[in-house]
């Protein structure tokens, strides 16, 4: 079920009503309802893959229980590795099996030996990368004794399958989300209103910005050889806004929906395109994944505490793995590699934590230095997104080489001026709200009339610019 679909527009109020009017007095029933609603939400795509979630839930619940009972460190480690193997095994099989087979085949061909590959027709279960990492965080935290394993199976099943963030995050930590399933939830008016506001803004980002940018990004990327330099730059720019609007829009809807049910999820995006350097960008982009890798991979590897070699090694590992997490394609790995290259100079000069505050804090506009920094960082990310969007490495390099060569016969794509105005409006609102959790969070301090006019205008834009219902990019990851 897509957030931007009529199915969800019916599903959400029905679940909301049942939750607050039928089962509100009983915590257990609230959790049961969440599990049922979540399974329905997920099964809407393909009910067969529900078995994966249910199996994963059983495995990690049991391992959590065994870890609590067991004091022997070797046995505890074995339990941990069973969980990791099963979870990553599923992920590896469904997501990476064909990639590895094809890559090995290509490698053998390169060395002059032909082999017959045995690829499988595998469907990637939606959101597998997200819920796998979420359940892994539970097992690892229990293993490290940071978290008391749950004895409430329903609460655990609700934690694993919680529908707002099941298929595209934020990847919640068990330490944050699981305890919320133990507490009685009472309806909280300000929280619910905040949730609705965030859902509205998320829909705007997805339906108006991302989907409309996608239309032109797709045209240009699919037929890059026919377009001139300015169109190719626009193609990369449109994809830059598409991916941000798409993914952060999803996160906003997920967080907003959770608030309607009395839950608080972690912030996943913090206005990354206003970052002054790449390190800041990575503190603001897909925060739940970046911090996951930081806590469960980078720090266990030694983080930045060791010598220069170790810093370089760990930086490359985390960025390459992060790229690989996004998909079984060399383009994502190269994208990760490129970001590691961007990041390393800052890390090695100990300047990676220079910009930890909000840009132009306490001011309306950035100063000249900040403008240059933002501009430079933004274009570095735009360049990297070309690899992320391209179908293959050669596609990306051809795109860039076409971009750098002038061609008098190339087409110039005409883009409706409304799209530029929409992006400008979007960036202005994001800039004004940059010190909040989401752009229009502070709207609550405005007069009611202004608020309602703003909401109605956004709804109007949603209908006016709604195109064909499009899936979220991150579903494929």
């Amino acid at each position: 079920m897509l957030f931007n679909s009529l199915d969800f527009a019916i599903f959400l109020p029905v679940t909301f009503m049942l939750y607050w009017f039928i089962v509100q007095k009983n915590l257990k029933l609230q959790n049961v309802l969440i599990v049922c609603a979540s399974y329905l939400f997920y099964g809407w795509w393909d009910w067969r893959f529900l078995s994966l979630i249910i199996f994963s839930t059983f495995v990690d619940y049991t391992i959590g229980y065994l870890l609590k009972q067991e004091q022997n460190s070797i046995k505890r480690k074995i339990y941990l590795w069973i969980s990791i193997t099963i979870n990553l095994g599923f992920l590896g099989f469904f997501k990476y099996y064909n990639f590895f087979i094809e890559s090995f085949t290509e490698a053998f061909i390169f060395f002059g030996k032909e082999i017959q590959p045995n690829t499988l027709d595998i469907i990637l279960p939606v959101g597998i990368s997200f819920y796998t990492f979420q359940t892994l965080s539970y097992t690892i935290d229990v293993y490290k004794r940071k978290l008391e394993p749950t004895t409430d199976f329903i609460a655990f099943a609700a934690f694993v399958s919680f529908f707002p963030q099941l298929v595209a995050g934020p990847i919640e930590r068990a330490t944050n989300l699981l305890p919320q399933f133990y507490q009685k939830r009472n309806f909280n008016y300000p929280l619910a209103v905040l949730g609705l506001r965030q859902i509205l803004w998320g829909l705007f980002k997805k339906v108006v910005i991302a989907d409309n940018c996608a239309k032109y990004a797709n045209i240009i990327f699919n037929d890059y050889a026919s377009y001139d330099t300015s169109s190719l730059i626009l193609g990369a720019l449109f994809f830059t806004f598409q991916i941000y609007g798409d993914f952060s829009g999803y996160s906003d809807i997920a967080i907003g929906t959770s608030r309607l049910f009395g839950f608080n999820l972690m912030q996943n995006f913090a206005f990354p395109y206003f970052s002054r350097d790449i390190a800041e960008f990575w503190r603001r982009w897909h925060i739940s994944l970046s911090t996951w890798f930081r806590d469960y991979l980078y720090i266990p590897l030694g983080g930045s505490k060791g010598g220069t070699k170790m810093k370089i090694r760990n930086t490359f590992i985390i960025f390459l793995v992060s790229g690989f997490w996004h998909g079984a394609n060399w383009t994502f790995i190269f994208w990760g590699f490129l970001n590691a290259l961007y990041f390393l100079p800052l890390l090695l000069r100990n300047k990676n934590r220079k910009n930890t505050n909000d840009v132009a804090e306490g001011r309306w506009l950035p100063n000249f230095k900040e403008i240059i920094q933002i501009f430079f960082t933004f274009w570095l990310t735009v360049f990297a997104w070309i690899f992320f969007r391209a179908d293959s490495i050669s596609h990306a390099f051809n795109y860039i080489s076409k971009l750098l060569t002038s061609d008098n016969y190339a087409k110039n794509l005409s883009i409706p001026s409304e799209l530029y105005y929409l992006i400008l409006f979007f960036l202005s609102i994001e800039w004004l709200g940059r010190s909040s959790k989401f752009a229009i969070e502070r709207l609550q301090f405005m007069h009611k009339t202004f608020r309602w006019v703003f909401y109605l205008s956004i709804i109007l834009l949603l209908f006016k610019f709604a195109g064909q219902e499009q899936e979220f990019i991150y579903f494929q990851f």
Partner: protein, 305 residues
């Protein structure tokens, strides 16, 4: 919770009002004329209605006989044009009607249009039968595969259009389906806009061009073929088709065309030479260009007769 629900309700109310105002001022939907069923059991429009097409690009009007467009100034040398939404042609201004183009091309003739979206072949024959009272020289029925297939109850039951029941050997007139509800829907512009753009499973906006013309362009089933034969023999027995010509839209099903020829129908087969685009980008209906091209081919055939 009460306050939350109250505010949501209030906001929805304000949104509906605001949306309605916006929809009316920006003409996001077309006005839809109301229908009646006349004494001959033929669905037509309430006479003398006018309305605007999407975006206020042009107006449509229903003449005093209950058909879209203007009536001919004279009924001498009359040729009638009967058809469905293609001839009804609300999506184009009146200057792009078949009757207007044909009058320009064949000025000695007068053209009388009788069209309504959803008209089936059997209903078109019924309309032609009624229009015989005007003593036309020719009756042109614009049809395509689907209009024939939809004419038979046994192929697909469609209560809102006139169909032939081959078991009981009779014509079943179409009924006006939920007229009250439709009246509300068509007049509540916001709801109509949402219905046409966001209804379940239907995505009109930005869809690839519907392939309506080719949907049925595949082999007929044995049952379809038999039912069509029954339909055509019934038509041969019941209607006078001496002055009738079927204007067949491009890319017709060869099997159906052969059947029509076997049953002695005169056919003017339109050909889309692909030099000019006949249809809208997201709508299979003809543009002004399509209408002009079609009229040109029809006028050539008529002038040869």
């Amino acid at each position: 919770m009460k306050l939350f629900l109250k505010n949501i309700f209030l906001f929805c109310l304000v949104s509906l009002l605001f949306g309605e105002i916006v929809c009316r001022f920006s003409y996001v939907t077309s006005d839809i004329p109301s229908r009646i069923i006349d004494k001959n059991n033929i669905q037509k429009y309430n006479p003398n209605q006018t309305g605007k097409w999407i975006g206020n690009s042009h107006s449509w009007h229903i003449n005093k006989d209950g058909w879209p467009g203007s009536l001919p100034k004279s009924r001498k040398n009359l040729i009638t044009i009967i058809g469905d939404s293609y001839v009804e042609n609300f999506m184009n201004p009146d200057s792009c009607r078949q009757s207007v183009f044909l009058k320009k091309m064949l000025p000695t003739y007068n053209f009388y249009e009788a069209s309504r979206s959803g008209v089936s072949f059997i209903e078109a024959m019924s309309i032609a039968s009624v229009l015989d009272s005007l003593q036309p020289l020719q009756q042109l029925i614009y049809i395509h595969d689907a209009d024939l297939l939809e004419s038979v109850v046994q192929i697909k039951k469609m209560p809102d259009i006139t169909q032939y029941d081959s078991e009981n050997i009779k014509i079943i007139p179409g009924i006006l389906k939920s007229p009250g509800l439709k009246k509300i829907l068509y007049n509540w512009k916001l709801i109509y806009y949402l219905y046409t753009n966001y209804s379940f499973g239907i995505k009109h906006k930005n869809d690839a061009k519907p392939k309506k013309e080719n949907i049925k362009n595949k082999s007929l089933t044995l049952k379809d073929r038999e039912e069509l034969k029954k339909l055509l023999s019934y038509v041969n027995r019941t209607f006078n088709k001496s002055n009738i010509s079927l204007v067949y839209r491009p890319n017709g099903n060869p099997e159906i065309l052969k059947l029509l020829t076997n049953f002695d129908f005169k056919i003017i087969l339109l050909v889309d030479h692909k030099e000019k685009e006949w249809s809208f980008e997201h709508d299979p209906h003809w543009t002004c260009t399509g209408h002009e091209e079609a009229a040109e081919q029809v006028s050539l055939k008529l002038s040869r007769k």
